[in-house]
């Protein structure tokens, strides 16, 4: 027998000779009166340590194998680029890579390859239905209706929602002048879309032929370059239906309630020709919802001002009056400061022309009801009138004196120079210390500039009539300009321009 066998035999013998751990009596007691089994406490995460270590190991391995290979082992690169002087030698330039020959024709080389026929593509907005149709032709400026009609005649597998309006656009500094027709062979309408900073960037930094300006009321698809091109307006039918369902949309606009500005020319910048009643008032109103960006924020502003759902049924009138968010905010603040009661939305639409009167009342610290405001018809009380007359007469006399002495030998208000060029244009930039008087005479079709001959002459020379920009280099000189109705005003942000209507100026 091997010693190991002896050992194991001895050990087994010891195990066999062991007394039992529990006697028979103890076992009987256990059986007859069993103690509650103390089950081992179940661990909530029995293998937590294992899995933690496993995850750690795996992550370490992954990190090890995913480390970027430096390429050159340090022992090879260390000390290698050292010259005889012991100074580090500059890295030798890489051998020149073979450059592609300029004569080589590539797919991008438009000179070598004949241009492929361009098929206009349209990015569908988020609200567009799934079924879409690709347009067959690019819409032409001024013939939007026919273009869109021809597009609808094309049989395609999918169909795009019909454009509400289509036409041409001209990019100005901060907005787009839009020309479009309501009906085929109808008069061309003029519209203006003020762009936000983001939208301007989108157009200025465009990389493709098409840019989409999306707002709550719809999308404006622009095909063209940074200056001009064609546009299509696709309404957001979901949002339109939602508003119309609550009678806040365009459905309430009756025929004859919407007036649009027409134009005779569509090239370059359109010149307003005169007002005309829209034959598609509801679509026109919805287009104004878009141009003035009437969205939920707009509604929230009105709600904060205390207007109820019932009041919002006249929301279309604000759109019709082309009152945007900023203008509405300003107007509401004025009204809150002057009026003791809350005017209706319809009244706000009309009060936008009375901002000057409201400002004066606010400056005087007067408060009144809307009815009183209407009854006074913006006329001051007797005492105010007297003081106003005195003040006005004093100012007028001083102004006349100055005018007579320095500016002109003519009577005050006499037209010294008439600039015919930009008068019909849609937009005027004024720089400098201007005093501008806006005439509300609809017959006035020209921009009339009052001021000394020198100033007016200098302004004529400096101004670019084709871009409708009046530049007054002599900022200390004050000139007065009359503008036709419907003209769009923009000025540089931060530049203060006093707009005043002096009595007796004309």
């Amino acid at each position: 027998m091997k010693p190991t066998d002896e050992l194991s035999s001895a050990l087994f013998g010891a195990a066999r000779s062991l007394p039992t751990e529990l006697s028979l009596e103890e076992v009987e007691t256990l059986f007859l009166n069993p103690a509650p089994v103390v089950l081992p406490k179940v661990k909530r995460w029995p293998h937590l340590k294992f899995w933690f270590m496993f995850a750690l190991l795996v992550s370490l391995l992954l990190a090890y194998f995913s480390l970027p290979f430096s390429g050159i082992p340090p022992q090879l690169s260390a000390g290698f680029p050292v010259g005889l002087t012991g100074q580090p030698v500059e890295d030798a330039p890489f051998p020149p890579q073979p450059q592609p020959s300029k004569k080589r024709t590539t797919a991008v080389n438009t000179k070598a390859v004949a241009p492929l026929p361009v098929i206009p593509t349209r990015l569908a907005p988020a609200f567009a239905p799934k079924k879409m149709s690709a347009p067959a032709t690019t819409p032409k400026p001024g013939s939007s209706t026919s273009a869109s009609n021809s597009r609808h005649n094309v049989k395609a597998d999918f169909q795009m929602p019909a454009a509400l309006f289509a036409g041409g656009y001209t990019k100005l500094k901060s907005g787009l002048v839009l020309t479009y027709t309501e009906v085929e062979n109808g008069p061309t309408h003029l519209g203006f879309l003020e762009l936000t900073a983001d939208e301007q960037q989108l157009i200025d930094r465009r990389t493709s032929d098409q840019v989409t300006i999306e707002r709550a009321a719809g999308s404006l698809l622009l095909y063209g370059d940074r200056k001009e091109g064609d546009f299509e307006f696709l309404p957001n039918t979901t949002y339109r239906d939602r508003l119309n369902k609550r009678a806040w949309g365009d459905a309430a606009a009756p025929l004859g309630s919407v007036v649009v500005v027409t134009t005779n020319n569509t090239k370059n910048v359109a010149i307003p020709a005169g007002p005309r009643v829209s034959v598609r008032p509801q679509d026109q109103i919805w287009f104004r919802y878009f141009t003035k960006d009437i969205d939920d924020n707009y509604l929230a502003l009105l709600r904060r001002a205390g207007y109820t759902d019932q009041d919002l049924m006249s929301l279309w009138k604000l759109a019709n009056a082309m009152i945007g968010y900023d203008r509405l905010d300003e107007l509401l603040k004025l009204l809150r400061a002057v009026l003791t009661d809350k005017p209706s939305l319809e009244s706000i639409a009309s009060l936008k022309y009375e901002e000057d009167a409201l400002r004066k009342l606010k400056a005087r610290g007067e408060r009144m009801t809307f009815e009183e405001f209407q009854r006074t018809n913006y006329r001051p009380t007797i005492i105010q009138a007297l003081t106003g007359v005195i003040a006005d007469s004093t100012q007028s006399a001083a102004w006349r004196e100055t005018h007579d002495q320095k500016w002109s030998t003519d009577l005050p208000g006499t037209v010294t120079k008439t600039i015919n060029g930009p008068s019909r244009k849609g937009k005027v930039h004024l720089k400098g210390n201007f005093k501008v008087r806006i005439s509300k005479d609809p017959d006035l079709k020209e921009v009339v500039v009052y001021g000394p001959d020198k100033v007016v002459e200098a302004m004529k020379q400096k101004s670019r009539l084709n871009t409708i920009k009046l530049i007054n280099k002599r900022k200390q000189e004050t000139i007065y300009v009359d503008m036709p109705v419907g003209i769009h005003w923009t000025w540089k942000p931060g530049r203060k321009i006093n707009i005043s209507a002096k009595p007796g100026l004309r």
Binding site: A10, A15, P19, E21, L22, V27, T29, P34, A35, V37
Partner: protein
């Protein structure tokens, strides 16, 4: 303690013949894994529940099988530490009159048995400690006698190796780990 019923009395009578074998087996398989008291109580209650279905003379087989399975189950959820359980078991044996030398030998044997594969350990314990025949072991393990013989042979061989094996030094363990990793 309530008086036992007839069925309980009959069960205890039948159990008395199996007591020594079961306890030795339980002490071996439960060493360091679970408490023998819990194991025995659990087995007896289960056996009593199925006592009517157990064939006459097969109670020991049933109890041993149950002890094996139950020890594995209890061993999975270790409520106590191994050292604590081992100490508790040895303390009970010491209280029953086991000499310290015997306990030292037995502890070494139990440690070596714990390192055997489960089937081999079972065969070795039943044959060497409990003194069961090959046929009885084959009946308990529900396998052939030849299979039991093979397990016994391999178990003994492995046990000899384990008993004569020198304890590993830490440097050897590290060297082995390094070799595996590299």
């Amino acid at each position: 303690m309530p008086a036992p019923t007839d069925k309980q009395r009959a069960f205890l009578t039948a159990y008395a013949d199996c007591h020594d074998d079961l306890l030795r087996y339980c002490t071996t398989v439960a060493f360091g894994k679970c408490d023998v008291r819990d194991l025995v109580q659990d087995i007896l209650l289960t056996a009593f529940k199925h006592f009517d279905n157990i064939e006459e003379g097969k109670l020991l087989h049933y109890l041993l099988r149950a002890a094996r399975n139950r020890a594995i189950s209890l061993g999975r959820g270790r409520g106590c530490k191994t050292e604590e359980l081992q100490e508790r078991s040895l303390e009970r044996l010491r209280a029953k009159g086991a000499s310290p030398d015997t306990l030292l030998d037995v502890e070494a044997l139990y440690h070596a048995l714990q390192r055997l594969p489960e089937k081999q350990r079972n065969a070795v314990v039943l044959f060497e400690i409990n003194g069961l025949s090959l046929r009885e072991i084959a009946g308990i393990q529900r396998c052939s006698e030849a299979s039991v013989k093979m397990k016994l042979s391999r178990g003994r061989k492995r046990l000899r190796e384990l008993l004569t094996e020198r304890p590993r030094h830490l440097s050897q363990v590290l060297l082995t780990a390094k070799t595996i990793l590299l």
